[in-house]
């Protein structure tokens, strides 16, 4: 009916203008958000259809060209095209942005936030469009356009409530970190242009660049994209930005925006020829560190959204482990590692996008209802908010990588790939890589601890502090995204066997290796019985649950208060808090995360009051980034001389610069 390229272009345009009509309405107008949301929903639907059609079209091999517009720069054009990898990421972008804008209707009402609701909607649409441009870019110029647009609109979204100090700080840090990354990317693309003479994303060959040059490009890509992805130790900007942004912005940032770093890494490593063994090892090692310490830091947080943000770092680590494994497979020309590593990594990108946006949206619902993000002040939310609780539980189980949810299946593929590094018959061996498995297991178990804390303390038990209003589930605009994401999270877990083989084309193109269809089929073969096992699990759970209900209903049944050791006047404060729940585990990891603790010192026989408090600082930020930049700022104070603040002087600078340029060149 419609050409798929037209569909994608119109989705892009619709998304980018979605916030504009609202600017002409009153700042408290209730119509404007609906216009924006409807535009975003249309854009998202059209975009999803377009992405699916394009994916089908380019499965045959050729990319779909969207637009090519020459720019007034030498060799540069604004060019967008779709290949299977872009289509894969596009689906995530349009899904989360659409659901997020629906969610925003109730979450960020103009009547409650008259000062910034219009700004939020404008940049939300722009961010969506820029994200799409990033993955559609056919050359590095277009890519950087989208990249900068994305960074800046995300900055305005993080700093939505710019009247608050902490929000401004988080926004500023995000902007600074983001631009440091962009600097690396500018250098990388400039070097590439120098070597090839064009800006297009075309595979480089080994006679175009030397191995050392290729490694330089790789390290720049790892720095620039790793910073955006939040790979440790470049993650320091991420928790603040995610926590301070409105929840549907956190959802798109954590679900989609940081994945652009992964997209960039996949794209760039796919262009570079003959990766040496240490590239894959480095990515694998960084991924392992992120996976373990991201989770350990997550479980020591007191702020629900910071906890989720650190868990994003863990998941980015898991994705990086998969990518590192795929790189190793490329170095050793082993298709099995490539298929399992890259398919696992890409599927985990999708899965993390689904469950993390689900978690952020569900957390936002709780925060909206209670006006606090502190885990230790919440409790018992599952009773008044059953829908939200169920959605958060689905997200949490999936984030722990538990069967039968989607997070499990992508982790399964990565685990399987890592097991293959032991050197099974007919394959090369690299047993050092297999040591990522126990690390992954540790991070998985820590994830369970973390989400037991997040769900158990926030939703179970009774409220730890009296609430001003009785919280309740949100209305449908806010509830629908939760339902949709939960349903996809469960069904994708079971249906992966039919999704994963479609990534074979991406893997083959990325690695430059070719393999028999039978190898791909046998490598991903275990997904079919796994799918049946998961269905069996769901079925037997349902059966036994029904049996238990029947059993309980046919026997005497009574309800009573929770047994409290015979204590006469139990109060909600007797409950375990999130801090106490993870204190043991945090102290086990104290050597690495350096928690600051205040312990009660009990001296007399009948101690009156005692308090325990612990806080985990962001070590990379506090011990490395801040001191270095503070020192730099002190050393470079004299540069302030040229910052005079009056326009005339700046004009003079420009004139002087022009004169210099004209005389020199």
């Amino acid at each position: 009916m419609f050409e798929s390229d037209r569909l994608l272009l119109s989705a892009l345009i619709l998304a980018s203008i979605s916030g504009i009509p609202g600017l002409f309405f009153n700042r408290r107008s209730l119509v404007a958000p609906w216009i924006a949301a409807m535009l975003m929903v249309t854009s998202g639907t059209v975009g999803l259809i377009g992405a699916v059609q394009c994916a089908a079209q380019c499965a045959s091999g050729s990319d779909v060209m969207l637009v090519e517009y020459p720019l007034p720069l030498p060799d540069a054009s604004f060019a967008l095209s779709v290949d299977p990898l872009s289509a894969f990421f596009l689906a995530a972008i349009f899904l989360v942005s659409t659901l997020g804008s629906l969610y925003g209707l109730e979450y960020w009402k103009p009547t409650e936030h008259p000062d910034n609701a219009r700004k939020l909607r404008l940049f939300y649409g722009l961010l969506t469009a820029c994200l799409a441009i990033v993955v559609l870019a056919k050359n590095s110029v277009t890519f950087l356009f989208g990249w900068e647009g994305m960074a800046v609109s995300a900055f305005f979204l993080v700093a939505t409530e710019d009247d608050r100090n902490d929000v401004r700080d988080a926004g500023w840090m995000y902007l600074a970190a983001s631009h440091a990354g962009t600097l690396a990317l500018f250098t990388m693309f400039a070097l590439m242009y120098g070597a090839t003479g064009h800006f297009d994303f075309l595979p480089l060959t080994s006679d175009q660049i030397s191995p050392a040059f290729a490694s330089t490009l790789f390290l720049l890509a790892l720095g620039g994209f790793g910073l955006k992805a939040g790979l440790m130790p470049l993650h320091f900007w991420l928790p603040g930005a995610h926590a301070m942004a409105p929840s549907h912005v956190s959802a798109i940032m954590s679900g989609v925006l940081i994945k652009m770093g992964i997209y960039g890494l996949v794209r760039m490593t796919g262009l570079l020829p003959d990766p040496p063994l240490w590239w894959g090892s480095l990515v694998l090692a960084l991924g392992t560190v992120s996976a373990v310490f991201g989770m350990v830091l997550a479980l020591s947080q007191h702020d629900l959204k910071r906890l989720l943000a650190y868990s994003s770092i863990e998941n980015i680590g898991i994705v990086a482990i998969g990518l590192g494994l795929a790189l190793l497979g490329r170095s050793l020309h082993n298709p099995v590692w490539v298929i399992l590593g890259l398919s696992g990594a890409l599927l985990h990108v999708w899965n993390h996008c689904l469950f993390k946006s689900l978690l952020f949206l569900a957390a936002g619902t709780v925060i909206h209802a209670t006006h606090t993000r502190k885990i230790d002040e919440l409790g018992g939310m599952a009773k008044p908010m059953p829908w939200t609780a169920a959605a958060f539980l689905v997200g949490a189980s999936s984030a722990c990588g538990l069967p039968p949810f989607n997070g499990f299946v992508s982790e399964f593929l990565i685990y399987l790939g890592l097991f293959h590094t032991l050197g099974l018959p007919g394959e090369p061996a690299l047993p050092a890589a297999a040591f990522a498995i126990p690390a992954l297991a540790l991070s998985g178990a820590a994830a369970i601890a973390c989400f037991v804390k997040a769900y158990g303390i926030v939703f179970l038990g009774v409220p730890r502090k009296p609430l001003a209003h009785r919280p309740h589930d949100p209305h449908w605009p806010m509830r629908l995204p939760l339902v949709v994401l939960s349903v996809i999270a469960i069904s994708l877990g079971i249906l992966t066997a039919s999704v994963a083989p479609r990534l074979n084309g991406i893997c083959a193109k990325w690695s430059g290796l070719s393999w028999d269809a039978s190898i791909a089929a046998s490598t991903l073969g275990p997904l079919v019985p796994l799918g049946w096992a998961l269905i069996g699990l769901l079925g037997s759970l349902l059966f036994v649950f029904c049996w238990l209900r029947w059993k309980i209903s046919t026997h005497p049944y009574a309800e009573h208060d929770t047994w409290g050791c015979g204590y006469l006047a139990p109060t909600p404060r007797l409950q375990y808090t999130g801090t106490s729940l993870t204190q043991f585990l945090v102290s086990l990891f104290g050597w690495s995360i350096q928690p600051v603790e205040i312990r009660p010192r009990i001296r007399e026989l009948f101690p009156v009051q005692a308090a325990y408090w612990s806080e985990v600082p962001e070590i990379v930020l506090d011990r490395v980034v801040s001191p270095v930049f503070d020192a730099l700022a002190r050393r470079l104070l004299w540069f302030r001389l040229i910052q005079q603040g009056s326009v005339q002087i700046y004009l003079l600078y420009i004139v002087a610069m022009l004169v210099v340029l004209f005389t020199v060149f």
């Binding site: 099974l424 047993p431 998985g444 369970i448 796994l530 699990l537 049944y557 929770t562 086990l588």
Partner: protein, 304 residues
């Protein structure tokens, strides 16, 4: 189909016997008369016919916990070769499903326990999730070494076919895995020295305090699940230890069950001669289990 039914029956019916046997062993060591061997079965029967008392704080999750715990351990048990050397659920990578099924059971159980809002449950949960963080890497270390030994990713190949020839070549790594997994079994099934199933003080419990508020049929399900958590690792150890090809059939089944019961007696002896460790010491023992398995893995990888 029949093999599936038999395996499920063994999984549901046999495990409580291990608990009974452990208690008998302990009684013999202590010079007491002790409860009868089949006492766990009487208890289950009684619980299944009792009513339920449930806390007013709880949600549907409280009931889901026992269900998930029982179903996941039973399904995980289907991956393990029990009385016969073949299994019903088997595919490359089922070892990962095995570990994560048990993790799902733990997740659901601790959440259902936190559902009561009781501080005691909080204590048990904090310990359970902490110990799991150290036990899971150790488990995977052992699996890795076994994958290297058997050159396969299917649990059934990992555990069966450890014949005399394998033992002469890979004896040292196998011994290390067995000793590491024995420790893990004690930790997972909450036995001494990690947890005392007979303690009467909530402050010192792990498993017992997690199931403190469950009653009636739910408690029965949890008891079966807990016994399975003892039976399944014991079965894995037994499979690793059987060094002869017994050719299937009832002789194989009997020998297997005898070895599993011997493991239970061993657990009983350990329980009789050791005291429960202080909580802060437990992580060290679990780390030691992980390190032993890691040595096994390194040894196996470097073997010619």
């Amino acid at each position: 189909m029949w093999s599936l039914v038999i395996q499920l029956l063994v999984l549901l019916v046999f495990p409580p016997l291990l608990v009974g046997l452990i208690n008998c062993t302990k009684a013999v060591f202590a010079g007491r008369q002790g409860p009868p061997l089949l006492q766990p079965y009487y208890e289950l029967w009684r619980l299944l016919h009792k009513g339920t008392v449930q806390s007013t704080t709880t949600t549907w999750l409280f009931r889901a916990g026992p269900v998930v715990a029982l179903v996941t351990t039973s399904l995980a048990g289907l991956i393990i070769p029990l009385v016969q050397p073949e299994v019903y659920v088997s595919f490359p990578g089922d070892i990962i499903l095995f570990v994560y099924l048990l993790a799902l059971g733990r997740f659901a159980l601790v959440l259902s326990s936190l559902d009561t809002g009781s501080p005691f449950e909080g204590m048990g949960v904090a310990r359970e999730v902490t110990f799991a963080c150290l036990a899971e890497p150790a488990m995977f270390m052992g699996l890795l070494a076994l994958v290297k030994v058997s050159q396969s990713l299917e649990m059934v190949d990992l555990l069966t076919g450890k014949h005399a020839a394998t033992w002469t070549v890979n004896g040292a790594p196998l011994l290390m895995i067995i000793s590491s997994w024995f420790l893990l079994m004690l930790a997972d099934s909450c036995r001494i020295p990690f947890d005392d199933p007979n303690t009467h003080l909530e402050l010192t419990m792990v498993h017992e305090v997690i199931i403190l508020d469950h009653s009636g049929p739910m408690l029965a399900m949890l008891h079966v699940a807990a016994a399975q958590k003892l039976f399944i690792p014991a079965a894995m150890l037994a499979r690793l230890a059987i060094t002869r090809d017994l050719g299937g059939g009832w002789i194989e089944g009997l020998v297997f069950l005898a070895v599993v019961l011997a493991v239970a007696v061993l657990v009983g002896i350990v329980e009789s001669v050791l005291a429960r460790l202080r909580m802060p010491v437990v992580p060290r023992v679990l780390t030691a289990a992980g390190v032993i398995a890691a040595f096994g893995l390194i040894l196996q990888v470097t073997l010619p």
